[in-house]
């Protein structure tokens, strides 16, 4: 309750969460507002915004509705952003807990693998992975997670190293609890809060990476994405700049909203930590 109140007390968090919530509503109700395929042709090509009210934001070179694409693109962006972050955090937390609790050579080898992944830029990794396995939504999610799990892994390991020395973990060993149960029930829940504040950075990064992949034509070809819309508009950037600018603004404000929400969450968690 008080964490929620602290979140409400941070203006960053409130603005971010408000924006994010409205994007989420847009994403959820996109198929209701525009039930037909956003890739279908609905009007003349390159209709300017605010001219024909059946296509309020205008149309692209092929006469596809930009607003419909924008709304459906919100679905892809948020879906990929959230799931990529989820996969990255789950993978990172598993590696971090295993490394932190095992110690010894298991810790050493897991950390060397983590460092090896960290030296390769996440975007290049995703690019290489997608060009091998081919673009589809689950593969895009996995490719992005592949470059993002190292952060959570290192944070969780550092937390686990301090938590495993605490008395309640010793108490769990004394009563004879299985090491896997100790990791899952006693250690992991206490190692996760710092990862939650990392999550917003990962979600924002994942949304940008997905847009970049789509921009290069490596997104799921059956889905409208913001990156894809920007790439589509690029060819007519001089005559119809709105085709790139509008999805670009959507991307910018989503990433901004995610970051602001993250600030709010950090404020809420920081308050609790100092209280303890």
């Amino acid at each position: 309750m008080s964490a929620l109140r602290r979140f409400a007390g941070s203006p960053d968090g409130v603005v971010g969460a408000g924006l994010l919530l409205s994007f989420a509503i847009v994403a959820v109700f996109a198929p209701v507002a525009y039930p037909e395929d956003p890739l279908s042709i609905v009007g003349g090509p390159l209709v300017r915004p605010f001219v024909d009210w059946s296509t309020p934001l205008g149309t692209d070179r092929l006469g596809r509705d930009l607003l419909a694409g924008l709304l459906h693109g919100a679905r892809t962006s948020m879906l990929v952003g959230l799931f990529a972050a989820l996969v990255a955090i789950l993978l990172g937390a598993a590696v971090g807990v295993a490394a932190g609790l095992s110690g010894g050579w298991i810790d050493e080898s897991l950390m060397r693998i983590t460092e090896a992944f960290q030296t390769v830029p996440g975007f290049l990794l995703a690019l290489a992975f997608i060009s091998v396995v081919g673009p589809s939504l689950p593969m895009v999610v996995f490719a992005i997670a592949l470059g993002a799990w190292t952060g959570p892994a290192r944070v969780v390991r550092a937390e686990v190293l301090s938590i495993r020395e605490r008395d309640f973990v010793a108490a769990a060993r004394v009563i004879g609890m299985h090491p896997v149960e100790i990791a899952w029930r006693e250690v992991l829940p206490h190692a996760l809060p710092p990862v939650v504040s990392l999550a917003s950075v990962i979600v924002a990064g994942a949304i940008l990476t997905e847009a970049a992949l789509s921009f290069l034509g490596l997104g799921d070809p059956n889905r409208v994405t913001w990156g894809g819309l920007i790439a589509e508009g690029r060819t007519v950037l001089r005559s119809a700049p709105y085709l790139s600018i509008v999805p670009g603004l959507a991307l910018l404000s989503t990433v901004l909203a995610v970051h602001l929400t993250g600030e709010g969450i950090v404020a809420a968690l920081a308050g609790r930590r100092s209280f303890q």
């Binding site: 605490r166 008395d167 309640f168 010793a170 108490a171 769990a172 060993r173 004394v174 009563i175 004879g176 609890m177 299985h178 149960e181 029930r185 006693e186 829940p189 206490h190």
Partner: protein
Amino acid sequence: MSAPSILTARGLTKTYRTGGRIVPALDGVDIDLAAGETLAVVGASGSGKSTLARAILRLVELDAGTIHVGGRDFRRLAGAELRAERRRIQMVFQDPALALNPRGTVRSVVADPLRVHSLVEAGGQADAVAALLDRVGLPYAFADRPVHGISGGQRQRVAIARALATKPSILVLDEPVSALDVSVRGQILNLLLDLQRKERIAYLFISHDMGVVRAVADRVVVMSRGRIVENGSADAVFRSPRSPECRELLDAVPALPGR
């Protein structure tokens, strides 16, 4: 000849290396504990008494020495066998605020050992938890309180209930009252004495407070720099301490009128 020993430790040795310096935490320590008695281990901070407690529970790996619990070589056990044998020897920590999972409830803490060792039938858990809470003087209404929502003394009662859950024959008590308010220390000590009288549990009682030790101990060993420097019945140690370390600890007890 005294009663047969249920905990026998011989030659316990442990050295820590900190920044190139080698610090002996335990240097050939022998311990014998008979059923139903209280052996107090006293010493100043850094004397190795907490390392001793944790080493006996296999929370700290020793460099050398043997530990027999109920006749079994405790140091040779590993994996599932060790976890099963842990039932016999339980521990109460110094600060119950640190020793209980901060996200837990009274019920989850007390029921953990019951579940881990499958000590109750399905559906019998609530009764078992109620019985354990009753033994430490807490009403069953406490079961669903979060552990951060109860007082320090109540938390230590919960920690004692958890330690009793597996019906151990030995309890290692590591400064069990020194983190508590002075007003509840006596209550917790009386609870421990009561439990011992009724159930004949042996206590290995770690403390630096000779006032507390006088109230509970049958026998006393005094530790200093990882070694045992004095060993005797509580009466003898309190009447005529031989080691300077022991006299120092006794001098630290404030003289109360009427004692």
